[in-house]
């Protein structure tokens, strides 16, 4: 609870600072604020209480995930200075909106009631619509925001419809209440209306996570959105939506796997295939990362399908590993764009020569996403595969590993370009804090890979 409050306060204060034209204070202030709210979140550990008649449920899952999301945001803000170096006007609005979006995400990780879920999602989405279009001059940015807005609101309509149907059949918005309803009606079969609601809910969330066939927005929007915010989308938003979905499966729809698991499994399979295969052909890193994020959503669905007591943990680990790697990749992407104006793989040629740390970071990120031991990505994948195999979803796992095998094809493009292709004498201007933070990300990836038990036993 405190974290939400503190975040909101932070957001408002940021706006004030903007009014006071205190540009230089902005980022430090935000970083400090995020740290404090992160601390507050962590203080909720093992608190396990519900607020406002189960409107919000503060449990370890929620705490862990929201901590992760706040942390990711923190990292992204680390790179904000670099990204907006050339911009002169105070960016308080954009930062504030990012923070509000974060609040939405945190709500999604705590919600105990469909109303809260809806509010969380909408807070997140509306903020994102704005962010996506925040680069007003660029036509791509406009297109991105338009597409995102139209599709987003369209699908949130379905989400709402789903909520309505569930409400209609169960007569409540409260997750536990619905669950009791489910438990009562499970043996004489759930009414179609409820089922329809359930699936519409899943669909609404799949859109946010970018599960095929609801992934179409992702590549375009990612490409059009300003890179920093793309990183935000790719890490925080995805995590939030995943945890939201997890809450459904762990609380409300607990005990009726039979109803949804096959559908989700098929969706996951399609997503993995489409994400990886399509990613293979992408000419530039940003769009490639979009597809990679799609495929990773597929992998996370793998964990949902193979639902068990360890799923939360597996998801957490995977989300962390994925977010870290992705953010690192986007950080390097920002540099490349700055130096070269574009992010086609050609622009990566030989940057390893003069920019060892940057190249190394990107390489590690890519390897981690590919799932090569001993990096965090591998452990995450291992957890998912293990869970899936344990539950006997062998065919799905086969698709998944086929996907990872294919993914080598595109994750190695930047590595090859950076290390094996001839040098063009590029030198990336990265500030010291920037370098430190990417190094930090790299070390984190390695650390989680070598000492996974730091995170694996958490929830």
């Amino acid at each position: 609870m405190n974290s939400i409050i503190s975040l909101s306060v932070l957001g408002v204060l940021v706006l004030f600072l903007g009014i006071l034209k205190k540009k230089t204070w902005l980022l430090p202030f935000i970083l400090v604020g995020l740290m404090t709210s992160l601390v507050m979140t962590v203080l909720h550990w093992n608190m396990n209480r519900s607020l406002f008649h189960n409107m919000l449920i503060i449990d370890n899952t929620g705490v862990a995930f929201s901590a992760v999301m706040i942390f990711s945001t923190f990292l992204i803000f680390m790179f904000a200075a670099q990204y907006y170096r050339k911009v002169t006007r105070p960016l308080d609005d954009i930062y504030a909106i990012m923070i509000f979006a974060l609040i939405g995400a945190v709500l999604m990780s705590y919600f105990g009631n469909l109303i809260m879920l809806f509010i969380g999602i909408e807070t997140l989405s509306i903020a994102l619509y704005v962010l996506a279009g925040s680069h007003k001059e660029a036509i791509t940015s406009n297109e991105a925001t338009l597409k995102y807005f139209l599709l987003g609101s369209f699908l949130s309509g379905f989400l709402l419809f789903g909520i309505a149907l569930i409400y209609g059949s169960s007569g409540s918005f409260d997750l536990y209440a619905i669950h009791t309803y489910v438990v009562e009606h499970i043996h004489q079969g759930l009414p179609p209306m409820f089922k329809a609601g359930l699936f519409l809910l899943i669909i609404g969330l799949s859109f946010k996570i970018a599960i095929a066939p609801f992934h179409f927005w992702a590549p375009d929007v990612y490409e059009g959105t300003p890179t920093l915010l793309t990183a935000f989308m790719a890490s925080v938003v995805k995590t939030a939506s995943v945890v939201a979905m997890y809450r459904f499966f762990s609380i409300t729809f607990f005990g009726i796997h039979g109803v949804w698991e096959m559908t989700v499994a098929i969706l996951a399979g399609i997503t993995i295939v489409i994400g990886n295969v399509t990613g293979l052909y992408q000419p530039n890193l940003k769009r490639m990362l979009a597809y990679s994020s799609i495929s990773h959503s597929g992998y996370m669905m793998l964990a949902m399908v193979a639902f068990s007591g360890r799923t939360a943990n597996a998801l957490l680990f995977y989300a962390v590993a994925y977010s870290i790697a992705t953010i690192a990749a986007f950080a390097i992407l920002i540099l490349i764009r700055e130096a070269r104006g574009n992010d086609y793989f050609g622009s990566f040629n030989g940057i390893a020569k003069n920019n060892r740390i940057e190249a190394f970071t990107l390489a590690v990120a890519m390897l981690s996403l590919t799932g090569i031991p001993p990096l965090a990505g591998f452990i995450g994948k291992y957890f998912l595969f293990a869970a899936a195999i344990e539950q006997g979803w062998l065919w799905l796992v086969i698709i998944a590993i086929a996907g990872s095998a294919i993914s080598v094809g595109y994750y190695f493009k930047p590595i090859i370009a950076m290390y094996f292709r001839e040098d063009q004498g590029t030198i990336l201007q990265a500030g010291r804090p920037f370098k430190i933070s990417i190094l930090f990300l790299t070390i984190l990836t390695l650390l989680l890979g070598v000492l996974p038990f730091l995170l694996s036993g958490l929830i």
Binding site: L151, F154, P213, F216
Partner: protein
């Protein structure tokens, strides 16, 4: 005693290592002492062993160390020094020493002097290992080792790719045989759980004659022998092997290595007598080889080639003897053959030396005045191989013929025919080389000279041996005691006991008449050869189809080339061009490219139009709802 026994092979090895490491620094003088010296000591040691063995009956077994061991399976590096081995050791070291001495003179001008002696010593080492081995595995070491040495020595002048090809051919042919030998060993092991001669033979005695495994074992081993001893169909390497320096031909390709097959069969006599069918196979192979080689020999013009083919046919003799169970006879002939064939080769070497590398006998003639020593020794050799009494060849051949006669008349006739042909081509060689008028170039004529003492003395020594060598085993018929027979008796005792072959004794009169007939025929041959090649000029002889066929070795090489070598190369091409690139590699790359193509197609789903996206999403939604609600 074990130490002494061990020293016998180790000394040549020692010589090899010294010469090999210091092949640059060591001066020729030292090399020419070290090389033969080690062999001489080994020879003396072998004599000591013989002496001890004979009078103090020391145990034939000498254990060195365990070589391979895995679980129950274990191969020990053991020596078995029984009469058979001792005989071979004496031949190898003795003849070896003489040839080494000869080489000092022969190779004196060669810059690879040290290398040569290093290889020769290495060869002696492996050869000794081969004959001293107490089990098949260790025997195999020597078996392969001598093959290697012959490879190295045939290709000694490696500048010349033709020689290298000959060397390669020799090793590969040997390897083909070795595979058979190896499989035979494996079969032995799986049958008797051991490689040791003694164990194997003891168990084998219990087995029923003519059993399948026995036949398989013996046949496989014989394949090895065929490879080593250049019998049909693997005989083609030996003539080419003459590319090597002449002493090599004398030592390796006449006296010792090529007889390894004979030795091996004799060693495994117990197994062979248990497989009569195999014996027949051996007999037929031997007969075929004898005939073929002899016919070819008649029409060869290269002095060494003639000798090479005669070697092949003489080896055929030995195998024939083995096939009729006359093991002692085979060994006896092996020994005498070592003497006179070495002698002949060295004589040829001396001739070539004098003719400055000329090997074609059509360019020679009338050398007997220029090289008297060579001529006389060569004459002895010829008489010996032709089998005229009282030279060694006569006794050994006679013993074999006797054995064959008791076996069956037709075989005897063939054998006699071959011995006649032998006489013919040997005398042809003799006449064309030493009689008549000189047909070489003027330059050669002026440079004709007798070889130095270091080369002639070995000739004389060998001539002496070739002369009296027969006395070792004069049959009872001629009031001889058959020393060798008695000496080897214990080795072949079991074999003879088991041997089922018919052994009705022949009346002495018949025996004598046979001998007489053979001698007469041989003399006749000598005379006809004289008529043909001395009184008439050799060039005038016109050659009909058959002659040309024989002259070209019946085109066996060409046949092999067409049947094995070329197809193999073409197959290799084909596999690489078709299977490898077009098939296997294409599948792998195809998967990759296929996925990329797939990607290139489905990425167009991302049409960029919001409407399209919405449309797809709706379809997705409807499908999900349809499958979950309606169904």
């Amino acid at each position: 005693m074990t130490l002494l026994v061990t020293l016998i092979p180790l000394l040549p090895l020692f010589g090899f290592i010294i010469l090999g490491l210091g092949y640059r620094s060591i001066p020729k003088s030292i090399a020419s002492i070290l090389g033969p010296g080690t062999i001489l000591i080994s020879f003396i040691l072998s004599l000591i062993i013989l002496f001890n063995f004979h009078y103090f009956a020391i145990s034939p077994f000498h254990h060195l160390f365990t070589w391979l061991s895995s679980g129950r399976f274990s191969v020990a590096f053991d020596f078995l020094v029984d009469p058979l081995s001792i005989l071979m050791m004496l031949i190898i070291t003795g003849v070896g020493f003489i040839i080494h001495v000869y080489s000092i003179g022969y190779m004196s001008q060669d810059e690879g002097f040290n290398r040569f002696f290093a290889y020769m010593n290495l060869f002696i080492f492996f050869m000794l290992i081969l004959v001293m081995a107490a089990n098949y595995a260790v025997m195999f070491i020597g078996w392969e080792g001598v093959g290697l040495c012959s490879y190295l020595l045939i290709g000694f002048w490696f500048k010349n790719q033709r020689f290298n090809n000959a060397a390669k051919k020799a090793l590969i042919m040997n390897r083909i045989g070795d595979l058979g030998f190896l499989l035979g060993m494996f079969l032995i092991f799986t049958t008797f759980q051991s490689f040791n001669f003694v164990t194997v033979f003891d168990q084998a005695k219990a087995m029923t004659p003519g059993s399948g495994t026995m036949i398989a074992i013996t046949l496989l081993l014989f394949v090895g022998a065929v490879g080593k001893s250049a019998q049909i169909p693997l005989h083609t390497w030996l003539p080419d092997a003459m590319a090597g320096p002449t002493p090599v031909s004398a030592l390796i390709h006449a006296a010792t290595m090529v007889t390894a097959g004979v030795y091996m069969v004799a060693r495994s006599s117990v197994l062979y007598v248990l497989a009569p069918e195999t014996m027949e196979v051996i007999g037929l192979t031997a007969l075929a080889t004898m005939l073929l080689a002899a016919t070819i020999a008649i029409f060869q013009n290269d002095i060494k080639k003639v000798l090479a083919y005669s070697t092949i046919s003489q080896l055929g003799y030995m195998f024939l003897a083995l096939s009729v169970g006359a093991f002692t006879g085979a060994m006896f002939h092996l020994m005498t053959h070592a003497f006179f064939k070495a002698l002949l080769f060295l004589g040829a070497g001396s001739v070539i030396h004098a003719m400055e590398g000329e090997q074609d006998i059509r360019r020679m003639g009338g050398l007997k005045n220029a090289l008297p020593k060579t001529y006389w020794t060569f004459l002895v050799g010829t008489l010996a191989i032709a089998g005229l009494p009282p030279l060694s060849g006569f006794f050994s051949k006679d013993e074999i013929l006797a054995g064959v006669f008791s076996f069956g008349l037709p075989v005897w006739i063939v054998a006699v025919a071959v011995s006649m042909m032998t006489a013919f081509y040997m005398f042809r060689l003799l006449y064309l080389t030493f009689f008549g008028s000189f047909r070489g170039s003027e330059h050669q004529k002026t440079h004709l000279h007798e070889s130095p003492a270091v080369m002639t003395i070995p000739l004389i020594l060998l001539a002496f041996l070739a002369f009296i060598g027969g006395s070792l085993n004069i049959p009872e018929l001629m009031g001889g005691s058959g020393v060798l027979k008695e000496f080897l008796a214990p080795v072949f005792a079991d074999a003879v006991k088991i041997n089922q072959l018919p052994h009705h004794n022949i009346p002495a009169g018949l025996e004598w008449t046979n001998i007489g007939v053979v001698i007469l025929l041989v003399l006749l041959m000598a005379w006809s050869a004289y008529r043909r090649f001395v009184t008439r000029e050799p060039e005038t002889e016109t050659r009909n189809f058959f002659m040309r066929l024989a002259e070209n070795k019946f085109y066996v090489d060409e046949l092999y080339d067409a049947v094995f070598v070329k197809p193999a190369l073409r197959l290799s091409e084909g596999l690489h061009k078709v299977v490898e690139t077009k098939f296997i590699d294409r599948i792998v790359n195809g998967t990759g490219t296929g996925i990329i193509k797939f990607s290139n197609t489905i990425r167009y789903l991302q049409a960029g139009h919001v409407g399209v996206y919405m449309f797809f999403m709706i379809i997705g939604i409807l499908l999900i709802l349809f499958f979950n609600i309606i169904l």
